[in-house]
Symmetry: C2
């Protein structure tokens, strides 16, 4: 069933109104008719099945037919901090990581970021990434839309570590035998440590841009509490590391069965 | 260190000749000088460190300085069978799965494949995907280039199951509570079963196109010996399922540490 996100004020009791892009999608792309059903989520507490009762030219009215659709949100809440990559690679990262289950994206600047970052375009860029995240959330049947934060400096990123139970710093050099641990070792130990934790488990994954991280950055991250982790012997591109680390975390946390 | 693949006849004793695109890459893109070193692999048994002894205008002569570079090939050999997706998504799939560690790609046709498959362009398409795989193998420091097979029918795909120790059929419906098992359950059981196996472990991952698979195809695959597996509660796009399944297999097999 098709899934749409609306603002809380678009759901009033049993009535829902869908407007703008999503209305266009229902009317023109999906060509739905009255009485057809979709899933609607307010991106907070309420996700319902609703049927179409009126198709306007620019908006669609619906009526709730079933409350409380089963949540598809992951057990562990993983945020992806990504050093700005070249070209449109960030778009691929936010789309794929939304499908796999990330709850937040934090773009940041690091020493080896190659792109000339234009601060004037910040708002536009975030808006574009947020739109891709929303569409990916609808398509992959998420109950919540991941957030895209504004671009941070490396220092600001470090200051945020305290919000997480675990910070994983993906460090290429670890695979080459330098300092750090393999990802699975870190995750298995962590899983035992948080066994009795009642509050939501929060993890931050930090992935580098094309040039990776400097030794200085790795040291700063480690001193601030991050675990330096390697993702195996093969070298992953900037846009691949985050998706791979996130997938492994989802797998270890039991999102794909197992113990 | 930059890595290049050559044909076995381009290495003779201690002398290596690099031609064509790779020579162009060394001379024009990397702008290397004499005495600089690269890794050269013959894609079979030999991977060496070699130094540049002569830069021509279209070819580069090198000399072996160190034999037997450590292998980066994965322990389990995973092939990806991918029902033809739309647009250029297959390019993303072969690139990303090469980085993560796939050894072969098998494009195939299934009932819900949307693209009109032009058989006249078969050779061109395979050549293009093979080129992307080679570049990704060089970039990610693989010792071997994954193979891209010619496009198979669904029947031909089924007939090939006997070549593998495990066949995983990624089936969206499994996530919705229908028949099938979660990926981690299947992999953990399999790992115990093959503990004493001395021959290489061979796994086939089968991923669908945009429309997924029909129930009939799932039944045929199951009857031919495949395990129907789900990749969690969220719905992955056609180009994402293979990468995610492959990553989980690599993780479970110990490529990222752990037991």
């Amino acid at each position: 069933m098709q899934r749409y996100f609306v603002k809380p004020n678009q759901i009033e009791g049993q009535s829902i109104i869908i407007r703008d892009d999503d209305a266009h999608h229902i009317i023109r792309v999906m060509r739905m008719k009255e009485d057809e059903q979709v899933i609607v989520s307010d991106n907070e507490t309420r996700t319902v099945i609703a049927k179409i009762v009126e198709l306007g030219s620019h908006e669609v009215k619906l009526e709730v037919v079933e409350e409380s659709v089963k949540s598809t949100e992951p057990i562990w809440q993983v945020s992806i901090a990504q050093a700005l990559p070249k070209g449109d690679k960030m778009e691929l990262i936010v789309q794929k990581c939304t499908e796999v289950g990330a709850v937040a994206f934090i773009p940041f600047e690091s020493q080896r970021v190659i792109v000339q970052y234009d601060h004037k375009k910040e708002a536009k860029r975030i808006e574009r990434w947020q739109k891709i995240v929303k569409e990916a959330a609808e398509q992959s049947h998420r109950n919540k839309i991941a957030t895209v934060e504004s671009t941070k400096s490396f220092k600001q990123l470090l200051e945020g570590f305290k919000l997480y139970d675990l910070v994983l710093f993906c460090y290429e050099e670890t695979g080459k035998g330098k300092e750090g641990q393999a990802l699975k070792d870190v995750l298995q130990t962590f899983k035992q440590e948080i066994e009795d934790q009642s509050s939501p488990v929060r993890i931050l994954v930090i992935a580098g841009s094309e040039g990776g991280f400097t030794e200085q950055e790795a040291t700063l991250a480690k001193d601030a509490g991050a675990k330096l982790v390697g993702l195996g012997k093969r070298i992953l591109r900037a846009e691949t590391a985050g998706i791979v680390a996130l997938t492994c975390i989802m797998y270890e946390s039991g999102e794909m069965g197992g113990v």
